[in-house]
């Protein structure tokens, strides 16, 4: 117990510190982009949130497969925790992306220009469905089983959605190319640091959320024992 507490402490401090450094890098260290100006600074947190969202859903897939293979409830808790965190970050990516699109294309929702934003919002819908499914199934074991299967099917559909949205957009003229790979070194460093900082934050949240889930499970078990104890 004390050992796991120490890991949590380390992660808490590490994510707090790295987020502070990330804020400094984004707002002070990174140079202002020539054509887009300060708005471009949203890019660092936007892409990092999208990355964490995507990574979280990958963890859900792994957790689902591990649960179906071994039947260990902890894996289901990890999968569910990861979906909740992933949805939060995906929502952040959609909101920041929409703000950025408004500044760049003067439209909140660039269906044609930015297929990745469309893809991320589809991810949001997929995993909202995952949570809805859990809410509508009776019985913990069955809930975990259905959720694991849906987590697998949902993740397998992601590359297909990505490709179809990509191709669908290709038939329209590309109005504006993202700056893409030619980032200035200071920008690249800031970007990479943000990715790392957000990933640390993800693991910190995952650890806390999974622990909460396990404790809730235990509390549920104790209550059940108490109830049956009183009955008998």
């Amino acid at each position: 117990m004390s050992k796991s507490l120490r890991i949590e402490d380390v992660l808490n401090w590490l994510s707090g510190l790295s987020m502070m450094v990330a804020l400094y890098l984004v707002f002070v260290y990174a140079p202002t982009e020539a054509t887009m100006g300060h708005v471009q600074r949203i890019f660092y947190f936007h892409v990092s949130s999208a990355w964490v969202g995507f990574f979280a859903f990958l963890v859900t897939l792994v957790g689902g497969i591990a649960y179906l293979r071994g039947g260990n409830r902890d894996w289901d808790t990890v999968a569910l925790s990861s979906v909740e965190i992933g949805l939060t970050f995906t929502a952040m990516a959609v909101i920041t992306g929409s703000i950025w699109a408004k500044a760049t294309w003067n439209a909140w929702w660039p269906w044609q220009q930015e297929p990745r934003l469309v893809l991320v919002s589809i991810l949001l819908l997929l995993y909202l469905a995952y949570l809805m499914l859990r809410a509508f199934v009776e019985g913990e074991e069955r809930k975990a089983r259905f959720a694991a299967v849906y987590g697998i099917v949902a993740f397998v559909s992601v590359p297909f959605t990505f490709m179809s949205v990509r191709w669908w957009q290709r038939l329209h003229p590309v109005v504006f190319e993202r700056e893409g790979t030619h980032l200035a070194p200071a920008m690249l460093a800031t970007f990479l640091f943000c990715l790392v900082a957000f990933t640390i934050l993800y693991f910190t949240l995952l650890l806390h959320r999974s622990r909460l889930g396990r404790l809730a499970d235990q509390a549920e078990g104790l209550k059940e024992r108490l109830r049956t104890g009183e009955g008998g």
Partner: protein
């Protein structure tokens, strides 16, 4: 009994049940007519060229009709404990998956075959083209492959009629996007080479989701 015979036995059972009651065909015919009337009123009064909106209308109708059919397909088995009986039968669970999947594929295709002539007449477009039929068939396999798995999940939830579309729509979105694109291309007379990649995409989707659903179906129906 070989694996194929077991699969065909399940398909045969579903087909006979439908032929006796004709429940689905009659309701689907009315459904198709109603959808077309609703779309006509909501679009046609403002759209000058029907061919521009026809692919969208066609696929939205197919998606809705498939959802209704998939819901009915497993809800039917829930009555009188039919599903438990099916699972007690001495056969592999995957035979049940492929049996129900083929049954769904046959029924959805039949519904679409019923709707296409109605669409053609009411929209004054020739929709009975070999390339379009192939596209519809590939798209329908995708619907049936994922839909059979997800409807087995949805029948075991509260609010099952709502649950299936919520689970199914985000996953079959690639099928809808690609099928609508190809349908538009065919109606516009675009040469084959320009949308062949979409057809390959549909085939890949079908194969992968058949495999994934086959592998996970066991976990859905156990216990």
């Amino acid at each position: 009994m070989s694996f194929l015979n077991k699969v065909l036995a399940i398909v045969g059972k579903d087909v006979v049940a439908e032929l006796r009651t004709k429940e689905m065909f009659s309701s689907m015919l009315v459904f198709a007519l109603l959808v077309i009337v609703i779309f006509s009123f909501s679009f046609e009064l403002r759209v000058e060229n029907v061919a521009q909106v026809a692919p969208g209308i066609l696929w939205v109708t197919f998606v809705f009709a498939s959802t209704l059919e998939l819901n009915r397909s497993l809800a039917m088995e829930m009555e009188n404990g039919c599903l438990d009986g099916l699972f007690l039968a001495p056969m592999d669970r995957s035979a049940i998956y492929f049996g129900k999947m083929l049954g769904n594929l046959i029924f959805i295709s039949a519904i679409e075959a019923l709707m296409l002539p109605i669409f053609s007449v009411l929209f004054d477009l020739n929709l009975i083209l070999p390339s379009l039929l192939l596209t519809i068939f590939l798209g329908t396999i995708g619907f049936a492959a994922v839909g059979t798995l997800l409807s087995a999940i949805a029948v075991n939830t509260r609010a099952r009629e709502v649950m299936l579309p919520v689970l199914l729509f985000p996953i079959i979105l690639p099928v809808v996007i690609s099928a609508t694109k190809v349908t538009g291309g065919i109606l516009d007379g675009v040469p084959l080479a320009d949308w062949a990649h979409w057809l390959r995409f549909l085939v890949a989707f079908d194969i992968i989701f058949l495999a994934v659903s086959y592998m996970t179906f066991d976990f859905v129906v156990q216990g």
